[in-house]
Amino acid sequence: MSWHTVDAGGLDLATGRSPRPPGQPSPAAALAAAPVASWPVAVVDGDDDRRLGLAAALGPGGDRVEALFDALNVGSQAASPQIAGLEAADVAALARATPAGVVDLPLAIVDREGAVAAAARVDPAWLAAVDRQRAAGRQAVLAAGREGQLEAALHLGVLLATERFDPADDTDVDAHICSGARLWLLTGAVAAAMSGADPDPFAPWAQLVVTGWWPVGPSGGRLVVGAP
């Protein structure tokens, strides 16, 4: 078998040309070897022209990852969060369902400067709980012997999100903190989706992240969310 990751036009993402040997031994290995990403992506077996979508290539939970990346793509193209499908009530409900459980504090939607300031005072116990949830999702997938599929999903997620969350100004420290936080949450969401966790602890915040929001967490007696 000779698997290649291809773009919507069927071109190999590794070379920009039609797939040709040598390829990778599995769909996941082909995804993990793609040096660039486009959306949508698929994998093809150069030996028999078999084609798989991302969900099938990633196995269980792959459909949730595909939906997440699809939303990321739509969200990054939207001119405003409203166009991406989130109204204020949605944001409030999603924000309270944090990856470490429901947080019932007054919601504060702030600009990026306010979000970065709040980030410095995030409740450390809550943050540690989110860290544990991130690790739990990853461990569950690894325990199922699916390291290759997990790494492929994370690789593709990083490729897609690093560019979509790119700080406009390469010297802006706050923009890098915001981008890094959203990447941290997104990669946690990918692992949780792959684990099949139900309910998925990262799903509500992942919706915020892919539509441009930065849910920061409980800070100074408020539940802080950075606006797009």
Binding site: P35, T162, D170, H176, I177
Partner: protein
């Protein structure tokens, strides 16, 4: 006589001959390996070492940028039909990162070495490589400026901070000297012949020593180790 032309793409590189592809390929695949090693050995572990959420998320962004650099060099290698995965990584990746302080000093000094190498490639004969480094350099500059700013903050952190930073500087300088390759390197001779690089390894090392020394002594008020720009391996 040395080659003074510009090479537009992979097809033009192959048309020029295997010696050119070998020369530019060695430089590109070295970056493929070492950008990945940097992200894996230093940047990802730093996320867990960060003292607070802001630092954690900053480290996360930096790790993913470095991983992205690896992939972008990998794409160049693929276009040249080269396998970028094999071969050794640089000895600087043998450095054992144990603290956030190590990480920020490393960003200030080791990423500065990467900047010195990349800045030279901004004039390389292989135009896809020239274009790539032009896109990556702003991110690399950010990593260095972050490291320098965070190192200054470390020094303000208590009476023991200067001695601790000095120890890290001493260690990292020793590990980074080989980063630029051996004096009298045959590879470097080929790089310069083909216009892939313009300087000897020693000249690049000397520039890093000057810039790193100015930061450590002029900016931090610490001692920069006495290091020669020659390195025999």
């Amino acid at each position: 006589m040395t080659f003074t032309g510009e090479v537009a793409d992979a097809a033009a590189a192959h048309a020029l001959g295997p010696d050119y592809v070998r020369a530019v390929g060695k430089v590109i695949t070295s970056h493929v390996r070492n950008e990945l090693a940097g992200a894996t050995v230093f940047d990802e572990p730093a996320i867990a070492l960060a003292p607070g959420p802001r630092e954690k998320w900053l480290a996360c962004r930096i790790a993913m940028e470095e991983y992205g650099h690896h992939l972008k060099f990998q794409r160049l290698a693929s276009e040249l039909e080269l396998d970028g995965g094999g071969g050794p990584t640089l000895s600087v990746f043998d450095y054992r990162l144990t603290s956030w302080a190590d990480f920020v000093v490393l960003k200030a000094l080791v990423d500065l070495a990467e900047v010195v190498l990349m800045e030279e490639l901004a004039a390389t004969s292989y135009l896809p490589l020239r274009d790539l480094v032009a896109r990556l350099l702003p991110e690399e500059h950010f990593h260095v400026s972050f490291g320098m700013a965070a190192t200054r903050e470390l020094l303000a952190g208590g009476d023991e901070a200067p001695a601790a930073v000095q120890r890290t500087v001493d260690d990292l300088v020793r590990f980074t000297v080989p980063f630029f390759g051996r004096s009298g390197s045959a590879n470097n001779e080929a790089f310069r012949y083909w216009g892939v690089k313009q300087r000897t390894n020693d000249a690049a090392r000397a520039e890093w020593l000057a810039r790193a020394g100015a930061f450590v002594e002029g900016d931090l008020g610490l001692c920069f180790p006495d290091v020669e720009p020659q390195w025999a391996g």
